[in-house]
Symmetry: C2
């Protein structure tokens, strides 16, 4: 029996959820630097030890809070590679926007850009998202919608990069509707795969 029956009092899963939610809320308002674990504990109504028992350091706590609301999403498979790539890009945007406040600021997303947080997110999330992009394009190639000569990684990274850039460094004053954004993705995808329209 290599079974691992847990001994002793189990974790309070509801407390876990409340902590992660409180972390997200504070990241949004104050950012990584000014996030205080002591404030989280008092807000949630628990001891600091309950937090440190789960996540040994602040970066790991923050990474957990980010991953907790990041959805890998389902692999789009409409039969059309353009639709699939647009949907894929849209999923990225939704993940970023989930943590956006009313003014367009995104403290949670910014918290990801930390030497100790990036490796965790990258390993458990970004790589999986990238693999989904590759799969979408591979199916497009099989259907003859995409040339295999194209640089597939470039297509995926370009789409992700645009979303990242516009969400972080360019707090654009322009208000765009969801339809406008989707149309932009669609036109970009068509350019990238050389679709003649």
């Amino acid at each position: 029996m290599t079974e691992n029956t847990p001994k002793g009092r189990p974790f309070d899963t509801d407390l876990t959820k409340r902590v992660l939610a409180a972390v997200r809320s504070q990241l949004e308002d104050y950012g990584f630097v000014n996030l205080s674990i002591e404030k989280i504990a008092s807000e949630v109504g628990c001891g600091k030890t309950a937090i440190y028992r789960r996540w040994p350091t602040k970066p790991e706590l923050v990474a957990a809070a980010i991953l907790d609301t990041s959805e890998i999403g389902d692999l789009p498979d409409t039969g059309d590679v353009v639709d699939d790539l647009v949907e894929h890009a849209w999923q990225n945007l939704e993940n970023f926007r989930r943590s956006e406040d009313e003014t367009g600021n995104n403290g949670l997303l910014l918290a990801m850009f930390n030497m100790d947080v990036i490796p965790i997110i990258s390993e458990s999330f970004m790589q999986a998202r990238h693999a989904m992009g590759r799969e979408i394009i591979a199916r497009g190639v099989k259907r003859g919608q995409v040339s295999s000569d194209l640089d597939h990684d470039l297509i995926i990274d370009t789409l992700a990069g645009l979303t990242l850039f516009r969400t972080t460094l360019k707090p654009d004053t322009r208000v765009r509707t969801d339809d406008e954004i989707k149309a932009t993705y669609r036109s970009l995808v068509r350019s990238l795969i050389g679709d003649p329209r």
Copy 2:
């Protein structure tokens, strides 16, 4: 006479340079969070007051250190819009790479992604870079190399986004030569402006 002749002992400009260089070095190794102004002072051999007299807070100090090595660059003007956009993208990459260490990590660039740093960099640098991109494309339109129907902002942001994404979130294991990277930019630019080759 509204002349402002400075009174008293002037700033030591050499000290200013040494502080900013030390800040960059520490950001590279430890990141924003673990950068210590006290360590900077002792390393440079000055008092903390000399630093706080110049930059009132840590984010402003960090922003100054980043801007100090960021070059706006000259507006490319080769007569060919593709060459100009490739050069523009290359300048972005060079700005990012200037602070890369031997392992490809980039603590200085990551330090930019901070609620209190981004606005400073964005206002005094990103907007100017974006304007240069617009000018390049405007000249291309005038020469008849680019259709005015295209979304010019999209072209600029897509190029910048790719560089940002690959420099931060995707610590790519693949080693690419400068020539490969330039060829990638070239092919992407051609896709974006609909250049038939």
